[in-house]
Symmetry: C3
Subunit: 210 residues, 3 copies
């Protein structure tokens, strides 16, 4: 179990580092800016999770592996041949960014729930869902605040909604099916919802119609 979460967390860290570094490139930041924005996006959700749960210092500060992976991935994304390739192929750029962001969202929502659930003897389901959504969306929100734009949770149709639905499904199945199946189901729901939402351009009723 431990190993599973560790591997999932590394994948989520790498995925969010890609989205952070690509945002930095788009904003004409330098290599250091890309590394910082990649690391903030990748480690931000987990740091918020640990601080909410009182698990200080946060895991990202105690164990260098997360920051190292985030920095390595950010430097890779920043390489001229990668940037030039992504610059020429806007379709691939969009696809990579979309999928990296979705993978990070699904994985961190689940690690948020797992940490909240194992943190207390008598788990509070509301707390678990709330912490899951904040862990999943926190890194992207910090990325957007630092990039001086409106956070993704307010811009993208069905972003936080997907995280919330997946979190509720995971928490409901947690006691029934056991930890790993619940986490797998929750993550799968988030992935499918985000893919469908992007494909069919789902959106909720907006205030602009009036």
């Amino acid at each position: 179990m431990e190993n599973w979460y560790f591997i999932l967390e590394l994948i989520g860290t790498a995925a969010f580092a890609v989205s952070g570094a690509m945002t930095a490139v788009q904003m004409r930041m330098d290599l250091f800016g890309a590394a910082i924005l990649g690391m903030t996006t990748a480690c931000g959700g987990g740091i918020i999770r640990d601080m909410i749960l009182g698990l200080t210092p946060p895991k990202a500060f105690r164990d260098p592996v997360y920051a190292m992976v985030a920095i390595a991935v950010s430097i890779l994304v920043f390489q001229p041949f990668v940037r030039r390739f992504l610059h020429k192929r806007q379709d691939i750029y969009d696809m990579v960014l979309q999928n990296a962001d979705t993978a990070g969202l699904a994985i961190f929502t689940m690690t948020g729930i797992e940490t909240a659930m194992s943190y207390t003897a008598k788990p509070n389901l509301f707390l678990a869902v709330f912490v899951g959504v904040l862990t999943g969306t926190g890194g992207g929100v910090l990325r957007d605040l630092f990039a001086n734009r409106t956070p993704v949770i307010f811009r993208k149709y069905f972003y936080a909604s997907a995280s919330l639905i997946g979190a509720v499904i995971c928490v409901v199945l947690w006691g029934e099916l056991g930890h790993l199946p619940a986490v797998m189901a929750g993550a799968a729901v988030i992935l499918v919802l985000r893919i469908l939402a992007a494909h069919y351009r789902w959106h909720l009723p907006a205030a602009k119609e009036d």
Copy 2:
């Protein structure tokens, strides 16, 4: 006493949710954006308060009632007939927003002081005032950061000042008059100062005169 603070906190939560959701409508966000911004504004101050005092996980995460009230109020504000009415009557829109924000400011400044005071055996008055002002203004600051605009504490004449004066009065009277009268006096001072400030457009010396 307990019940008093609980009811006050629910009123403050609802008031700040109104101001968050109305900001979301103004920025053409969708229903989910309005719910998130309403909840962030409503729960943000209390979450900051609990994290500063080391009371983790914060009350807003342990007890669903605050988030539920904030979401319900935000959905109500988002309803087309409410939006259309507020759109047509700019005067009522401004009045509701101003009063909701002032009520939230007064109430959360007081709950911040109350939590800081009951948190320690030997209360530190400076800590209590500081935490009170941050609890009162924190939700609005998060709302404005997420809405990508300069926080209200830098824009509005006599906003944080009102919170600060009310906080000092409450803390000074705390030992003299007892908890409830001190809280009532502090909240009343904030309400009156904000109403007078809005009416007479009070402002402090600004740097623009040079």
Copy 3:
């Protein structure tokens, strides 16, 4: 030792308060805005440090002296004759802002390392460096988020890099030379790097070349 850190911290607080208050003046905020932005910049890094390390409530909340110094310095910077002088002499304005920011960066990076090192029996070097950089840069990042502009760590060539290099040197020398020489060496490296970087306009490879 204790006294050394206390004096260093007061100098760092005053320096960052100058940079925050000067930013507020530049943005045409009023006196209260200048005091808040000065205090946020001055106390922000230390508050972030203490919250990451679980030292709640943060020192800035327990001990009024930091906020008092920050407010006094901000009010001084806001005085018309100071503002008018700085307005006329752009060269002096730039020099003061640059040096205040550099002094704050060097000092807070070091107090971050010192707190992280004395916090645990078996110090984690990665944690110490990470907390040092965040303490050094945190106040400036909050200042820029509140001023609604891209944080300095993404704008200025060799800002966070200088903090990082100084932090690594301090942590490496910590066991070899003892606390005070390590802190002095680390702070000196940050000061020298920032001065050289500003003078020779060092920058890292940026994405804009493509």
